[in-house]
């Protein structure tokens, strides 16, 4: 009896570890959605595809470095991550410049439709240039540790999961500091609260918005690389599913709220992994989105979102 309870606990703990890992990746992407929404009030549907491009750029970088005979894994990871971030940042900047900025001041739906168009463009571009099949990467950070074993069930914590957690937490700490303490972060928050007033104080709002997209793209690229290393397999469509999940996470946490995005990401990750572990894997998305619906019915502004009260 006692061993049976032990197995149950062990099993739940394993789901918790898997869910937190997944949730961190969602959280990193969700921050990009929520940041852009906060500042210009639009959903950047192409953000998931920037994540996908980040994953592809990482894979290309790693393959190239291996081709050049680089054997040090940490060095190869660092170089290809830096390169991928730089190029993906350019993608993020370009997307905003050509697809959203010309539509600023247009009706609300216009940039949204433009974003969907941009998402299709990026997906098809990668499909054509990289092929539609899954591309695989051998595990670069193999192994892990067994936390404990209970009656034959081993609770595993892989090194990759540790890396994902550390990288995500470090990145979020840097990002939080950037937003709260630096002049750029202050300008971003000012633009978020009152774009016109920020401009009247001499802040170049277009530049601040561009930088917001660049930062979002960098976070998404890191998420893309972690995804690549964790699952070892990517294709041109991963941006859609991960993007929709991360968007859901952002809405669940309260769109516009940065801690909300991370919290929402963790919630979605945990729901998915627990549902997969206890109910059925094919229905995991149904579970995640059902929770979204239920939360929004009772808390329309999300978990940490503030309700907008129009002043008259």
């Amino acid at each position: 009896m006692q061993t049976k309870a032990g197995v149950l606990v062990a099993y739940a703990l394993q789901q918790l570890i898997n869910g937190v890992t997944l949730g961190m990746i969602y959280g990193l992407i969700a921050v990009g959605y929520t940041m852009v929404y906060g500042i210009i009030g639009m959903i950047n549907f192409a953000h998931g595809d920037v994540f996908m491009i980040g994953a592809f750029l990482s894979l290309i970088g790693l393959t190239l470095l291996a081709g050049f005979g680089m054997t040090s894994v940490p060095l190869a990871l660092a170089i290809s991550l830096a390169a991928a971030c730089a190029i993906a940042a350019l993608y993020g900047w370009t997307v905003e410049r050509i697809a959203y900025r010309p539509l600023r001041g247009s009706f609300r739906l216009a940039p949204l439709i433009s974003a969907i168009g941009m998402s299709i463009v990026l997906q098809n571009f990668v499909q054509v240039s990289q092929g539609a099949r899954d591309l695989n990467l051998q595990p670069l950070i193999p192994g892990g540790m067994a936390i404990f074993e209970e009656n034959g069930f081993v609770v595993q914590l892989s090194w990759m999961q540790v890396v994902i957690s550390i990288v995500t937490l470090a990145l979020l700490a840097v990002f939080t500091w950037l937003v709260t303490k630096t002049p750029l972060g202050r300008a971003m928050r000012a633009c978020e609260q009152d774009l016109k007033m920020a401009s009247l104080l001499g802040i170049d709002t277009d530049r601040t918005i561009s930088l917001t997209f660049v930062i979002g793209a960098i976070l998404a690229t890191v998420a893309g690389m972690l995804f690549l290393l964790y699952y070892g397999s990517i294709n041109f469509f991963i941006g859609f599913s991960a993007g929709v999940k991360a968007f859901t996470a952002a809405v669940l946490g309260g769109i516009g709220s940065l801690p909300g995005a991370v919290l929402g990401g963790l919630a979605i990750g945990l729901i998915e992994s627990f549902w997969s572990g206890y109910a059925s894997v094919p229905y995991k998305n149904v579970a995640a989105f059902s929770v979204l619906v239920i939360v929004l019915i009772f808390m329309p502004s999300g978990l940490l979102g503030r309700s907008d009260v129009e002043k008259v």
């Binding site: 630096t182 928050r189 000012a190 609260q193 401009s199 009247l200 001499g202």
Partner: protein
């Protein structure tokens, strides 16, 4: 006589069929307080909105001449450059502070261009390099000076939205002053203030003028206007009806007629415009 700091020439602003400002010309001189007064709906706020880039005027020019020689055509300058290059700052009738940021942060945002003149310096600032610490120290000093000037030094770390109304007004002026303006445009700064607060405001404005910043003022509180203005421009129905020293304007029969309410019934559409 020196060249005027601000010269507005034949400014016209139409909204559809409504002419809010019609062929308006006036000048504001350096180191003076110029008041723009007039009944509700006279087009005062519209003039401000044209000067600060909120509206693109239908026709006319708005020139700003800095004493050192550079001059700017405000009617065609991009929004953020009006504050950054031409050095024009403004406050609003309905307060527009960044309510979720602290009092100090509001003043730091106003110094954004000193703290982060370009993207590279922004990156350096992230790592605390490139003289950023020194610049930041100066920015905090300037913010502190203005917080002391408006009596808010004790509230520096409180959210701006939590301040009482009168303090928010003063903070808005302090924030505008942190952009180092050559011309400060104040839209009804005394609205909703009690007599003591109005007196403090008058002193503050005189002090700002003494510091070399010129002021353009929209105000309904005639006590404040008559006491501190060097020059008064009177608008009615989008046209200038009088222009001179406070004493001259007060004695002008056209001004008296406008304030006693000739043609009150015409003011409703213009009111709607001014609110927008």
């Amino acid at each position: 006589m020196t060249a005027p700091l601000l010269s507005v020439e034949h400014l016209t602003m139409r909204f559809g069929g409504l002419t809010a400002v019609s062929a308006l010309s006036f000048a504001a001189r350096a180191n003076q307080i110029t008041a723009v007064i007039g009944p509700n709906g006279a087009g005062k706020t519209t003039v401000f909105n044209c000067i600060t880039g909120f509206y693109r005027p239908t026709s006319g020019t708005i020139q700003l001449h800095h004493p050192e020689g550079s001059s700017y055509a405000l009617q065609s300058l991009a929004g953020h450059l009006i504050a950054r290059r031409a050095k024009v700052a403004r406050t609003f009738q309905n307060i527009r502070l960044f309510a979720g940021m602290t009092v100090l942060e509001n003043l730091m945002v106003a110094q954004h261009n000193t703290l982060m003149p370009n993207v590279v310096s922004g990156l350096l600032a992230v790592f605390g390099l490139g003289g950023y610490r020194h610049t930041q120290k100066l920015a905090i000093e300037k913010a502190t000076t203005w917080l002391e000037a408006v009596g808010l030094i004790g509230r520096a770390d409180d959210p701006a939205g939590s301040l009482p109304y009168g303090q928010q007004r003063r903070l808005e002026i302090a924030r505008a002053m942190c952009t180092d303006p050559a011309l400060l445009c104040l839209d009804e700064p005394a609205a909703g203030l009690n007599p003591r607060e109005s007196d403090e405001l008058s002193e503050l404005l005189i002090r700002i003028r003494g510091g070399g910043c010129s002021i353009l003022l929209i105000e309904h509180d005639m006590g404040v206007v008559m006491r501190i203005s060097d020059h008064v421009v009177v608008l009615d129905h989008g046209k200038k009806i009088s222009d001179g020293t406070p004493a001259e304007v007060r004695a002008d029969p056209k001004v008296i007629a406008a304030y006693l309410g000739e043609g009150d019934e015409d003011e409703t559409p213009a009111d709607a415009e001014e609110a927008a």
